[in-house]
Amino acid sequence: MSALAGNYTYYITAFLLAIGLYGMIGKKNLLKKLIGMNIFQTAIFLFFIHGAVKPGTTVPVLDSRIGMDAAAYINPLPHVLILTAIVVSVATTGVALALLITIYRRYGSLEETTILERMKQSS
């Protein structure tokens, strides 16, 4: 059990990643695929941040009372990487929403099956 206590978050992350992946490849509705993508990316953020946390340490902002001892602060690097990953996730979601709007205007639906039918009719 002690092994589990140390990194139970990894298993929660694995579970969230599986849900996100299911949303992306299992679901037929395009908007649900997009939601699955967001769940997947958020799970990756959790994975990185969990790797940075050390018990008994504080926020990575230098504090004169604590000084410069590396053991007193959380590892700052995953936080930097995640800031970039969040920005990438927002940008991808923005472009995906723009695509969904054009698709909905042309085909009147976001269900993949309906869209494929209307494509066949129009061709």
Binding site: Y22, L62, L99
Partner: protein
């Protein structure tokens, strides 16, 4: 849920759980991720940049090029939406 998505998910979840047992435990402070460059960032930040917030100094100075790329990602998203959904009232 079709069978092949089930297989893909099972493989994916299995690989994750299989691999995560080797990742450093969050309580062990000698993990490579913490001792290698992270400690140097914490110790050098104030001497190099006078910025108490280590995340900002790493973000904008040590790995400033990442943030430039990140800002370009946002700009790409903006231009992409302009390209995909043009506005009618554009005078030019």
């Amino acid at each position: 849920m079709s069978w092949y998505t089930a297989i893909v998910l099972a493989l994916f979840f299995g690989l994750l759980v299989y691999a995560e047992s080797d990742l450093p435990d969050s309580r062990d402070t000698s993990a490579p991720a913490r001792t290698h460059i992270a400690s140097r960032y914490i110790e050098q930040t104030y001497a190099d940049t006078r910025t108490p917030n280590i995340v900002t100094s790493v973000l904008a100075d040590y790995r400033g090029y990442d943030t430039l790329g990140e800002t370009v990602v946002i700009l790409t998203a903006g231009l992409a939406v302009i390209l995909i959904l043009p506005r009618k009232d554009r005078r030019r």
